[in-house]
């Protein structure tokens, strides 16, 4: 029987890990992810989760340990944030290139200096080229549901690629709200037992993670690219199937709000989509046909659906909780790439907001949206930092 609980995003993830019957958990503490590690430790010692709980010495080793256990056929999980995710960087590339189907939860946080334990998406954005799938969620419920979906996506024989489930630090990881915990039996039916292709098995000996060059190397890399592109459709399918079984779905690659007839669209990722929805409603009350496009899958990047939903937008505000220093917000430049070459594309305001844990209010989005409406020439571009413009 489904059960209702009042949960933080972190606890929601922990319950998903429990429902997914994970066999090995290796998590290293870091704020704001730590409560996931702690909740899982409790569930394990309470016997509610039958998993091996590894206390490794770093995040690099946490992911490495998961690789090791996955390699011998055990579903494995880790979670981290910020410097911890940065410290995993080599291993993320390794897990993706080696096609290991792992699931990581990322409680998004900025990376210092300046040090900040608070929320920001820079940590996972910095991993955009590692080959891992990245899904960003809005609510505790979505965090739980997406984590379950993530195992199914990662382990799909056509994908076999690690999946990062990203939840905003504190704003989502630590805020509590109502969550429906799915029935264990339903989850078991939805999520087949762990499958992987690369195994250390004396009965079928292989050398894993071999070397290659030139042509053979390129072949394997192109297969890796095919798989993660393929994941694009699989993410949608899994979300659909999840909806049929559990009655909740999230739009697959993107989640749209009042977009169809919008001529001003706000693109965003993660839990600030909530205030973006408020901003959309307020703008509409003031006669601005606004809509919101929430990108759930940042990798693979959904170029096609983004094009589709922005086809009619005349103004675009892209909110980035990150910044690719020396260029612009990552979501913004990826969206530019998606729209490249389309007939009359909209001018874009790139709103850099929510850095270092800053709250984002609907009103702030609305005022940036009003700025955006002043821009008419598609080649116009503006980057607006929260707080600083009014200085």
């Amino acid at each position: 029987m489904p059960e209702k609980k009042f949960l933080t995003g972190n606890s929601a993830v922990a319950y998903a890990v429990k429902l997914a019957k994970v066999g090995v958990i290796a998590v290293y503490p870091i704020t704001p992810q730590t409560p996931i590690a702690e909740k899982l430790a409790n569930l394990v010692s309470a016997g509610e989760v039958k998993a091996e709980y590894l206390r490794v010495e770093s995040e690099h080793s946490a992911l490495a340990a998961c690789l090791g256990s996955a390699m011998v056929g055990t579903r494995s999980f880790t979670a981290t944030s910020s410097h911890g995710l940065a410290y995993m960087h080599e291993m993320l590339t390794y897990a993706a290139g080696g096609r290991f189907p792992l699931v990581l939860a990322i409680a998004n946080r900025s990376i210092g200096p300046p040090w900040s334990i608070w929320g920001e998406q820079q940590d996972s954005i910095q991993q955009r080229d590692t080959g891992c799938i990245q899904l960003y969620v809005e609510t505790s419920q979505e965090a739980l549901d997406t984590t379950i979906q993530a195992f199914k996506i990662a382990e799909d024989p056509r994908v076999l690629t690690p999946v990062m489930v990203c939840l905003d630090g504190f704003h989502l990881s630590h805020a509590e709200e109502s969550v429906e915990i799915p029935d264990a039996g339903d989850v078991e039916r939805f999520l087949p037992p762990f499958r992987t292709s690369a195994t250390l098995d004396p009965d079928n000996p292989m050398t894993l993670a071999v070397g290659a060059s030139g042509e053979q190397y390129t072949l394997w890399r192109s297969e890796q690219q095919t798989a993660i592109r393929e994941a694009g459709s699989i993410i949608g399918d899994v979300d659909e199937e999840f909806g049929q079984v559990f009655g909740r779905k999230y739009g697959g690659l993107v989640d749209v709000y009042r977009c169809d007839d919008a001529d001003l669209t706000i693109a965003i990722m993660g839990s600030f989509a909530g205030v973006a929805r408020d901003a959309v409603d307020n703008l509409r009350q003031n006669g601005v046909k606004a809509g919101m496009l929430r990108v759930r899958a940042f990798r693979p990047f959904p170029n096609q659906v983004v094009r589709q939903h922005l086809a009619n937008a005349r103004h675009l505000v892209v909110i980035d909780r990150d910044l690719s220093y020396g260029n612009e917000g990552a979501l913004c430049s990826e969206i530019r790439g998606a729209l490249y070459g389309q007939g009359n594309v909209p001018p874009i305001v790139n709103f850099i907001a929510g850095l270092g844990g800053a709250d984002l209010l609907a009103a702030e989005i609305e005022s940036v949206a009003q700025e955006a409406r002043q821009m008419t020439r598609p080649e116009e571009r503006r980057t607006v930092f929260q707080f600083l413009e009014n200085k």
């Binding site: 209702k4 609980k5 009042f6 334990i117 989502l172 509590e176 909530g274 205030v275 984002l360 209010l361």
Partner: protein, 180 residues
């Protein structure tokens, strides 16, 4: 949407109080709720706030910049902070743990005001000056927002087993203190 802002100091259980009220509203009062803890590595005695939001439709904002309908203050040294800068545009109910009078607390102006010496109730009933569950009882009685029963169930869900009973008793005591 109703916004409840909790004020206290690190160690007084402000975040837990917000979590308990949220649980009561979301699980036992059929509402939608969200509890937003004051973020960051507060250490003991530092001022802490938490915000509980209650509504019939999904709650979208997750910030701490609330425009409170209810203000609950665990430590009367924090009152000035708690009520400063609040626009007089809507009725707000202030619930304070204090031995002082409204005037001493500079709260004379407020018509919706509940002052109870929750500390001594807590010390009596729970055996420690941690007032959060007592304040929940007081809040329930004074505001009628949540039924005592829901608050007690929520305490049972949130508070660790070994101190559960005491805290439920604490809530009851707080509730009665207002009733009578």
């Amino acid at each position: 949407m109703l916004e409840i802002v909790w004020h206290g100091r690190g160690g007084q259980g402000v975040v837990v109080a917000s979590s308990i009220l949220g649980t009561a509203m979301a699980i036992y009062e059929g509402k939608l709720a969200m509890s937003v803890p004051g973020f960051g590595g507060q250490r003991r005695d530092a001022p802490v706030i938490a915000v509980t939001r209650v509504d019939d439709i999904p709650i979208r904002r997750r910030d701490l910049k609330a425009d409170p309908d209810y203000i609950v203050v665990f430590d009367d040294s924090l009152i000035s902070v708690a009520v400063s800068g609040l626009r007089p545009d809507k009725p707000r109910h202030v619930v304070v743990n204090s031995t002082k009078s409204a005037r001493e607390l500079n709260l004379a102006g407020w018509e919706k005001l509940t002052i109870v010496d929750a500390a001594s109730i807590a010390t009596q009933v729970i055996g420690s000056p941690i007032v959060n569950t007592v304040m929940l009882g007081i809040f329930a009685a004074a505001t009628g927002l949540a039924r005592l029963d829901s608050v007690k169930k929520a305490i049972a869900d949130v508070v660790p087993a070994e101190i559960r009973e005491k805290n439920i008793a604490g809530a009851e005591a707080g509730f009665e203190a207002v009733q009578n």
